[in-house]
């Protein structure tokens, strides 16, 4: 909060608390967003395969997800006899906490009041991009707990593949994030987004964008990088023994992860919420346009990720590992050197 809006003195110590509680609305919003993402994915997949997709429940099948939720809520919660109770039961906590904690630091837009900018992030911290990456990595614990806990060979194979993939792609992902950070000199994602102005990072570092996008898709386990699930060989992999709402929670966590990943792409490379000054100075447009712009870009990234699913066949696990260690890692170092040079050329 800046000094432009007058806040009574006695409220000031409670501002973080208020932000946290009000921010809980974001959790509801992100759940709705995840439902929307599932619907978009099913509709787009239908279109690409020349079928209709969901269309019976509600107009354009919009209520399909509500029907699915009711079904998941009324399904028996099944746990195999050999499963490890502790790991099997508590894995969704890790997956959900992981995405919620990511959500805290991601700015979902900004409003301009009298030309002063207020980013809409629940928590603003100096190291938010590092924090987001760390929280994003927690979800692998959930996946491994599910797979190890369910004592199923398919699940364990899937989890090991997941692990091999994650360790490969975390490194190029981290290096590309650093390449973005060196342009700004700040680990605060709000400042990174603001610093781009109208000259987006995708134009300054096209190679970095490609590496980041590929590594992020692998990080989220989206096709063509879903070797941990691969229905045809591993029977859904790590979720083989997961059913009902327990599966639903993990599934939702994955979709929320995908949405937040799209936010990251939009914020780090596609210019965030920055709009030309004449738009942000407008009293009404300043309230809506920046957030709308960011959400539109996020939706675009999301649709691209969904369409990639049907455009590229799934890689074998050795190809995936080769791609990360032998291609993306050296390329990301090249991009880092490029970014440092560019940062010095534009900066000092």
């Amino acid at each position: 909060m800046s000094a432009m809006i007058e806040i009574p003195e006695f409220i000031v110590p409670f501002i973080p608390l208020i932000r946290g509680v009000v921010g809980l609305a974001l959790i509801g919003a992100i759940f709705l967003g995840a439902m929307g993402a599932v619907w978009i994915e099913r509709k787009l997949s239908g279109d690409i395969q020349q079928r209709y997709g969901p269309m019976r429940v509600g107009k354009y099948g919009l209520l399909q997800l509500v029907a699915d939720a009711i079904k998941l809520f009324t399904k028996e919660d099944l746990m195999p006899r050999n499963a490890d109770k502790l790991l099997f039961n508590n894995a969704p906590i890790f997956m959900m906490s992981s995405v919620f904690l990511m959500l805290v630091a991601i700015p979902v837009g900004a409003i301009f009041v009298n030309g002063v900018e207020y980013p809409l992030a629940v928590a603003e911290m100096d190291i938010s991009i590092l924090y987001i990456e760390a929280m994003s990595a927690i979800s692998i614990f959930g996946i491994f707990m599910i797979a190890y806990g369910s004592n199923n060979k398919y699940s364990l194979l899937g989890a090991f593949r997941n692990f091999a993939r994650m360790v490969g792609y975390e490194v190029p992902l981290g290096i590309t994030i650093i390449s973005v950070v060196v342009m700004t000199g700040s680990l605060n994602i709000v400042e990174i987004a603001q610093a781009q102005g109208l000259l987006w990072n995708i134009f300054l570092q096209p190679l970095g964008f490609i590496i980041f996008f590929v590594a992020l898709m692998a990080d989220m386990g989206r096709l063509p990088f879903d070797q941990n699930e691969s229905e045809e060989e591993l029977v859904a992999g790590w979720v083989t023994e997961y059913s009902g709402m327990r599966f639903g929670l993990g599934f939702f966590a994955e979709y929320i992860h995908m949405i937040l990943g799209s936010f990251l792409v939009a914020l780090l490379f596609l210019g965030g919420w920055n709009v030309p000054a004449f738009v942000s100075n407008n009293a009404i447009l300043g309230l809506i346009a920046p957030t709308g712009f960011l959400l539109a870009k996020t939706a675009l990234v999301l649709c691209t990720i969904v369409m990639m699913r049907w455009a590229v066949p799934r890689y074998r696990i050795d190809q995936v590992v080769d791609l990360s260690w032998k291609r993306l890692l050296p390329l990301s170092l090249v991009n880092l050197v490029w970014a440092v040079g560019l940062g010095l050329y534009l900066g000092v």
């Binding site: 501002i15 973080p16 608390l17 946290g20 921010g23 809980l24 998941l72 809520f73 399904k75 028996e76 919660d77 099944l78 746990m79 195999p80 006899r81 050999n82 499963a83 039961n89 508590n90 969704p92 906590i93 959900m96 906490s97 919620f100 904690l101 629940v122 928590a123 100096d126 590092l130 004592n151 199923n152 060979k153 398919y154 090991f160 692990f163 091999a164 360790v167 490969g168 975390e170 490194v171 981290g174 650093i178 000199g185 680990l187 029977v235 083989t240 009902g244 709402m245 327990r246 696990i317 050795d318 590992v321 080769d322 260690w325 032998k326 890692l329 170092l333 440092v340 940062g343 010095l344």
Partner: protein
């Protein structure tokens, strides 16, 4: 105006929600869902055949080598984070950039060594 703790109060609130939400959901499911008992229902799925042995067996050492390489490079990345924020505009630009390049190049030799030793090849 705001201390470093302040930005983590919302984090604590969200963490609490993340910890509470899945058990509450599962409690609701327990109330709503039907229950039936059949012994075969609780066997592990293995494409219809009766599962043999446990799934917790020893795995290929390949995974281990990748993990070692990962730790190596992830620590490299970790060192670059603080560097990236200070190398510019503090009057140490030249030395900071040179030092980073030296650091990355030393690790690059380790990377080439791993590649030559075929530690980064999946099938041996």
């Amino acid at each position: 105006m705001t201390g470093i703790i302040d930005s983590y109060i919302p984090v604590a609130i969200f963490l609490a929600v993340g910890l509470i939400m899945p058990p509450v959901t599962m409690f609701l499911v327990k109330q709503l869902s039907p229950r039936s008992r059949a012994a075969n229902k609780y066997t592990t799925y293995e494409s219809g055949s009766i599962p043999t042995g446990t799934a917790r067996i020893q795995f290929n050492v390949e995974y281990y080598l990748y993990a070692i390489a990962f730790v190596l490079f992830d620590i490299e990345v970790l060192f670059l984070y603080p560097w990236a924020t200070v190398y510019k505009g503090h009057g140490i630009t030249t030395i900071a950039v040179v030092e980073m390049l030296v650091f990355v190049f030393i690790l690059l030799f380790g990377y080439l060594y791993l590649w030559k030793k075929e530690a980064l090849t999946w099938v041996k």
